[in-house]
């Protein structure tokens, strides 16, 4: 019941959420640009790919979530499954 509490909090204002996200996108962009400016040591050949870590991190999480969602079909049961 948020109405009872009149106080508005930090993220109750959409513009604050927007500010946070804008800042976050800006950092992401800077990190990719930095990849072209800063020289990274290379241990494995695939690290030579520009912004390898950024691409890998993004792809890894999308793959993780997609597989996990599929997994739900196989393993998810009702909360009281073991109590029956």
């Amino acid at each position: 019941m948020p109405d009872k509490n009149q106080k508005t909090y930090l993220f109750d204002k959409p513009e604050n959420v927007k500010r946070l996200l804008t800042g976050f996108y800006a950092i992401c962009t800077i990190l990719v640009i930095a990849d072209f400016v800063v020289h990274r040591h290379i241990g494995f050949s695939w690290e030579e790919l520009p912004a390898f870590y950024a691409i890998y991190g993004f792809a890894a999480c999308v793959v993780l979530v997609v597989i996990a969602k599929k997994m739900r079909k196989l393993v998810m049961r009702k909360e009281d499954y073991y109590d029956e």
Binding site: C28, V38, Y56, A68
Partner: protein
Amino acid sequence: MSELAPFVLYFIAALLAAVTRGALRQLILLATPVVAGLHLWLNIDIGSLATHSIMSHELIVMRTDKLSLLFGYLFCIASFIAGIFSLHVKDTKQHVAGLMYAGSALGAVFAGDLITLFIFWELLAISSVFLIWARGTERAFKAGMRYLVFQVMSGVLLLAGALIYFHDTGSLAFDHIGLEGTAGWLIFLAFGIKSAFPFLHSWLTDGYPEATVTGTVFLSAFTTKVAVYALARGFAGEEILVYIGVTMACFPIFYAVIENDLRKVLAYSLINQVGFMVTGIGIGTALALNGAIAHAFSDVIFKGLLFMSMGAVLYRAGNINGSDLGGLYKSMPKTTVLCIIGALSISAFPLFSGFISKSMVMSALMHEDYGYLWLFMLFASAGVFHHAGIKIPYFAFFAHDSGIRTQEAPLNMLIAMTIAAALCIFIGTQPQFLYSLLPWEVDYWPYDTTHVLAQLQLLFFSALAFVWLNKKGLYPPELRSVNLDMEWFYRRLLPVGVQRGVSFLSNAKESAVTTLMAPMQGIRDVFSQSSYAKYHLSESWPTGSMVFWISIILAAYLLLDIFGQSL
């Protein structure tokens, strides 16, 4: 005095905690880890030995080197933080169990022979289960039983392995064991159960979320880390551990994404973190082993911090399901900030503790040219951030406002979490102090441009994936549910199988009896129609008369016995 094993202090404190109450007991809870820690730091030198003879056998109750000492310090810090966190608890058995449990962990890491190790191994199991049972629910009782079965099984394997090892080598010393012969494998399996190897892990994800608010904080610190220590001592450099560790780091993150109980999410991420340690032990180089040990050190503190913050949420909101929480930053802002520090540490953000330890294991994988496994571990690193770094704080404190308005966590909890958070940042920014305590000589420094940039890219773009999936509505919602894992085999398949088996057998018995009795019945029918049927002996006698005659015979025996003796 210098040879006093630290577990003795804890066991005495446990006794005192059982008979004291109130402020005095709180003092004991706080003083014990401080005294034991100072004793270890000031009085105990590397290479000191303490022995105790029992039944003409010499037990080495304390053997110290840099490896055991580092775990000794760690366990004192962990029990100090957990002690503060549980200071408000009135339940005597939880305090006694907590002290016994921490003491057993200290006993185990200083054990110099396999029998001493076995004794503390079992004490760990028995003392810790009370932290689950103390929850007081039937669910917790059953989960505790299942937990105990696994733990005791691990102890039995260890004892069997130790005895065969003694038979084979004539020694019980706990040094490098290696995977040779039955003894090596039995001990390996015993350690494997306690470190939650894949397929043997379900005691952890089943038991830990059922423990009390404060109990889980203790549980997360000791059992698996004692096992990591034991693996590092007994099986360093066994390559199979690399593959086991990578599996442990990867598979739990899928479960963590879809799990609703946030303490269970942390339990899965605990396995994932132990995976990094096990991998380091398997690689076996000085850098990798140091990385594994350093990561155990960081992990106890940041995982403790995360379990404490979720414990505080459970304590205040009375619920820990992601589906029912959200918006708690409004009423628990301090807990929120502290939880985020734990989340940044476990995600290995630069300047936080996870970064300076996990990067050692990752670098070691690179140096030893484990290319594909390194990619899997990088996947696991991104996954950690996704489920522990973002999901935990996001669904508990932000997400949609659940409308829950509660109070900030109690002062003692806030103090405990603040100490843990401060340590996370201290270790992360000043790693040289932790590095100087590591057992092997290694020249390593985590903060170079490559490392920091690579890690930041990985983490920020993992976060970007989370934001994108959420905005697209592709992120799996938190649902009230249970996800089938290894425990299905013994919680569902086995009981149902046994039930089916029993009912099949009883049906089979019934039909067999009917089949066999049919001719008998036929004979009887024929007999009853014949002229002999009228005689007394051919009648069926009531059971009552049989009981009567047996009582008569027994009474006769009794009388004979009494009179026989008096004659």
